[in-house]
Symmetry: C2
Subunit: 211 residues, 2 copies
Amino acid sequence: MDREHRDRSLREWFPAEILRASATRDVRAGQVLFRQGDKTYAIFEVETGRLQLVRHDRSGRRIVLFDAGAGDSLAEAALFSKHYHCDAVAIMDAAVRVYPKPAILSALRSNPLVAERFMAVLANQVQSLRAKLEQRNIRSARERVLQHLALAAGPDSRTVPIKGTLKHLAEELGLTHEALYRTLAALEAAGLIRRNRGSIALVRARRPASV
Amino acid sequence: MDREHRDRSLREWFPAEILRASATRDVRAGQVLFRQGDKTYAIFEVETGRLQLVRHDRSGRRIVLFDAGAGDSLAEAALFSKHYHCDAVAIMDAAVRVYPKPAILSALRSNPLVAERFMAVLANQVQSLRAKLEQRNIRSARERVLQHLALAAGPDSRTVPIKGTLKHLAEELGLTHEALYRTLAALEAAGLIRRNRGSIALVRARRPASV
DNA sequence: CGGCGTTTTGAGAGAGCTCAACATCGGTGG
DNA sequence: CCACCGATGTTGAGCTCTCTCAAAACGCCG
């Protein structure tokens, strides 16, 4: 049945037994959720706010491994590891859902369907991340934006709903918001897209000498 | 026991029953391994050569989702989907290992340890891809290279073995090889790294006024 | 020795970033 | 209802950095 659903959040499909064992925890800006080397006891999902997974090398260099916003899950690999491999720090007040390892592991072990679902979600994430990474290889803001729109629209539609602000979109695309604004303006001027409130429509490409 | 092994390739840990069911297939440059919409029958791993996962939108725009080289696994999500969601095309003569779905699924279902291992591998891939993506947010070639080195060296060591050529490293970092060469030269001139045959060593940061 | 790919350095141009000013929109409170 | 405020959206101008194109040195292997 080709479930294509992005299933972004764990709580959407985690079985009741896991959800029951979970709880929400508030983390103030600057506070640490877990630290590298800590024993792993749970995986997490950001409900509000923003956390960063960071690692520090011996020279004090700060390496951001992941910048997690609402809906992002955190430290899934901790399920299969005794210790966390990086620090998790809130960069603004945040609320995270805490899913204890034992509950998850027992669910995965006792219910093959849950396990398969988990694998499917992870496999989809891998694909999606690879695609995003590939997208970053495109230097041109114009091409990158077009590619994102084409991908987000899918083969069925030419309309891309814009979730959140354009600033957030710019961030996701790895562009400054100024560059995105200019690019969108240029694309619209060129007749390649049409902008509406809350969405962007790809305009069907036409022969240069048409009409 | 914190298995940190990168486990890059499936054949390294797939159980014998899966390996037995697998086979190697040659794909000539330009040839298609599978096509979007085809029924999924297997997942793959590139042994030699190079494949691209591509999707085409209705305007003919070609979107590269993943550029897979030796060691990369392909279409893991196909395990949980009835149809492939993109084309796989060889961009040079290649050999791929073919792992039939039935063998994998039955192994995953009958052996929880195999399933967990698979989840662990996927979860690690997710983390590693997120880190790579985060790294691409760094504009400065200098910082990006330093970050890569710090990450590749790990907290224990200051030496990074260079696998393959610097050109390949440049590609992985998303830089032109010229930029990488220049950056490495500058970093060495600045005393931040030391280059040896086949490896790069991070030099311990020193106080500006030290001897 | 000859050839090919990697490594290296040079010079120039373009594209996105940075800084800056301003418009717009929504919400808030007087 | 209007003034105010903050965040988003928009546009301008200059600058920096990487990419691109080019050329040459180097290393490896037949």
